[in-house]
Amino acid sequence: MNARPDFLLTVENLTVSFDGFKAVNGLSFYVEPNECRVIIGPNGAGKTTVLDLICGRTRATDGKVEFKGQDLLKMREDQIVHAGVGRKFQTPTVYEDLTVFENLEISYPKGHGVFGALMFRRDDPVKERIHEIASVVFLDDLLDMKAAFLSHGQKQWLEIGMLLIQDPELLMLDEPVAGMSVAERKQTAELLNRIIQDRSVIVIEHDMKFVEDIATRVTVLHQGKVLSEGSMAHVQADPKVIEVYLGH
C-alpha cells in the first residue's frame, strides 16, 4: 500500500519494542481529513502507545508515520505540535501552579521560541482568544483560579482548551471522558461534538455509547495489531472483535 496524498495521516507498519516486547507490531491505518477515528481495544492493546508514537513521545523501532507529507518519526514533539497535531493525555495534565488563564496562555500559538517567550506581550488578541476558548470549555468564570483547585472534569476541559487554542488539524484524545460525572460527561460529549467539526480527531475511548455518537470509523487494536476496522456497525459485527473484546 502506498500513502495516498489525500490522507491526512498515514501510519504504516509501525512497530515499537520494549526490551523485546512488541507493544505495537506492524500497525497500519490511515486517517482522512475531517474524520473522527475512534480506537478501541482491551487493556494493553497498545492504544496509548500508538498515540505516543504519533506525537513523538515514544520513538518507534520501525515503520512510517506521515502527516500531510511530513515524516513525523524524524521530528521532535514540539515540531509535531507545530505541524498541527495536538495531544491530550489520559490523566488530565495541566500546570497546577498556574492559573487557568496562564495555562491557556502558554498554549497560545505564539512566542514559542525562547526569546519569543521572553518578549511575549499579553495583548488584546491574546486575551480575546483566551476568553473565547475558555467559554468553549466552560471555564470562563474560573480564569483566575489556580489549576490545582479545579475539579477532575474541569482539568480535562482545561486540557482540551489548551489544545483547541492551538487549532490543530489532527486532535488526539486519550479517554477524554474517563473519570467524569454523568453531567460532566454529557457536557463533554457536546463539547467534543462541537470541536470535532473542521478537523480530524483520533479518540481512544471505552464508552461505547459515546463512541457510537462520534465515530466516523473505528479501529480495534489487539496485542499491538489491527484486529478490525470500519464503521461501528461493522466492527461490532466482526466475530474476532466479539471474541476478544466485546464478548468479554
Binding site: R57, F89, F101, N103, G113, L118, R122
Partner: protein, 380 residues
C-alpha cells in the same frame, strides 16, 4: 479581573525591592565600617549565584551542583586581567622571565601562553567574564538537555564537572596558578583596588550589578518564559505537547544562571583580591545551593537574604563557636528541607505578609479601597 495585564512588579514586589535597596544601599553602608562592608560585599557576590539558582532550580527544576564552576570561570577571567596588569616587567623584575605572572615563572613558562594574551584587554576580559561561562554552560546544556538528562542525573553530572574542573585547575598550575589560585591582584587600569575607598566603591558597583541582575531575573520570571519554566518543572511533557522545545528553555535558563554566577565571581575577585580553585569545587557549589534554599528557592529576593544570612552566620558563629558551627550549619540544611521548603521567603509569605496585608488593608479600607494582590499559596 482576569484581563489584568501581567505587570512586571506587583505591589508586594515593589515593597520587597525597595526594602532590599534601602538595606543594601543605605543601611549597610551607613552602619558598617569598611572592613565589614567589604565582607558584606563578598557575601553579596554569592547572592548572584543564588539568584541564578532560583531561576534554574526553583522555577525550572534544574538543580545544578556545579554553579561554582561558573562562579569560578567568571572570577578567573577577571583575575587573569588583573594579574596581567599586576605583572608589569618592573614589578616582576626578579623573575627569570619578567612581565609574566609570577606563578608561570615558577613553573618554567617563559612566555605568556597564547590564550592569556587577550586578557590584556579590559574590554575583552569583561566580555569573557560573562561569555566564557555562558558558552561553557551552553555546551553542557546542549549536551544534557538535548539528551533529556534531568533531575538527579543532571545534579550528579554537574557535580562531577565541578570535580573535574578543580582537578584541572590545580593540575595545570603553570597556567592557572594551581591550588593557590591567582593571587596578589592590585590595580584595575591603574586604580588601586585594595584601598578602603576602592572597597567602598566596589561595594556599590557590586550592589548596582546585583540589582541589575535582580531586575533581569524578575523580568524573566514575569515573562511568559518564567511561567513556562514553572510549567516545565511540573509537567514537562505537557509543555512539549504545547509546542515548546523544552531543551531550549532549559539551556537558556541554565546559561542565565551561569551568567549571573559569573558576574558574582568577577565581583568576588575584585573585592577579595584573588581567585582560587576552592570556589570551584563540590563543596562551595553545594553551599551556594544552600544559600538559595535558605532564602527560598522560589524567591529571587529571598536568595539575596539567604546568601547574606548564611554567610553572616558562618562568619559570626564560626568565630564564636567553631565546634558548634558545623553542627548548626548541618542542622540548618535539614531544618530548611524538612520544615521550611520555601525558606525565608516562604516564612515571610506564610506569616509576615498576611499580617502586613491585614494591617495595610485596614488602613486602605479606612482610606477607601485600595486593593492588593491576593496572597499566593505556597508551592508545596
Amino acid at each position: 479581573m482576569f484581563a489584568k495585564d501581567n505587570k512586571l512588579f506587583s505591589t508586594g514586589d515593589i515593597v520587597g525591592f525597595v526594602v532590599l535597596a534601602v538595606l543594601i544601599f543605605i543601611v549597610l553602608p551607613a552602619g558598617l565600617d569598611t572592613f565589614r562592608l567589604n565582607l558584606f560585599g563578598k557575601y553579596l557576590t554569592y547572592a548572584f549565584v543564588a539568584i541564578g539558582l532560583v531561576l534554574c532550580w526553583g522555577a525550572g527544576g534544574i538543580l545544578s551542583l556545579g554553579q561554582g564552576v561558573f562562579f569560578g570561570l567568571g572570577g578567573y577571567c577577571m583575575a587573569m586581567f588583573l594579574k596581567l596588569e599586576a605583572s608589569t616587567p618592573e614589578a616582576t623584575k626578579i623573575q627569570s622571565t619578567p612581565g609574566i605572572p609570577d606563578f608561570m615563572d615558577w613553573n618554567q613558562i617563559t612566555a605568556l601562553p597564547m590564550w592569556w594574551e587577550p586578557f590584556n584587554s579590559l574590554t575583552f576580559s569583561l566580555i569573557a567574564v560573562v561569555l566564557v561561562p555562558v558558552i561553557f554552560a551552553f555546551i553542557i546544556g546542549v549536551a544534557m538537555f538535548r539528551r533529556r538528562v534531568g533531575g538527579v542525573y543532571f545534579a550528579i553530572i554537574t557535580q562531577a564537572i565541578a570535580a573535574i574542573m578543580t582537578i584541572l585547575i590545580i593540575g595545570q598550575q603553570g597556567y592557572t596558578g594551581g591550588v593557590n589560585g591567582i593571587t596578589d591582584l592590585r590595580t584595575l587600569l591603574g586604580w588601586d583596588i585594595r584601598t578602603d575607598e576602592a572597597k567602598v566603591i566596589l561595594y556599590f558597583v557590586n550592589a548596582v550589578l546585583l540589582f541589575v541582575c535582580l531586575f533581569v531575573a524578575q523580568f524573566i520570571r514575569k515573562s511568559k518564559l518564567g511561567r513556562i519554566l514553572i510549567a516545565m518543572r511540573d509537567q514537562e511533557d505537557r509543555v512539549r505537547f504545547s509546542g515548546y522545545d523544552v531543551a531550549n528553555f532549559k539551556i537558556f535558563v541554565f546559561c542565565a544562571g551561569a551568567a549571573f554566577a559569573a558576574i558574582g565571581g568577577a565581583m568576588f575577585t575584585l573585592q577579595v583580591g584573588f581567585m582560587s580553585p576552592s570556589f570551584v569545587g563540590i563543596v562551595p557549589s553545594i553551599e551556594m545551593v544552600i544559600f538559595c534554599a535558605v532564602g527560598g528557592r522560589l524567591s529571587i529576593l529571598g536568595a539575596v537574604y539567604g546568601a547574606l544570612l548564611v554567610n553572616l552566620a558562618k562568619t559570626t558563629f564560626s568565630e564564636m563557636f567553631p565546634e558548634l558551627w558545623l553542627l548548626g550549619l548541618g542542622a540548618l540544611f535539614i531544618a530548611v528541607v524538612l520544615a521550611f521548603p520555601n525558606g525565608l521567603a516562604g516564612l515571610y509569605k506564610d506569616y509576615v505578609e498576611p499580617r502586613l496585608m491585614a494591617l495595610f488593608k485596614k488602613k486602605a479600607d479606612d482610606g477607601g479601597g485600595r486593593n492588593f494582590d491576593s496572597i499566593k499559596a505556597p508551592a508545596e
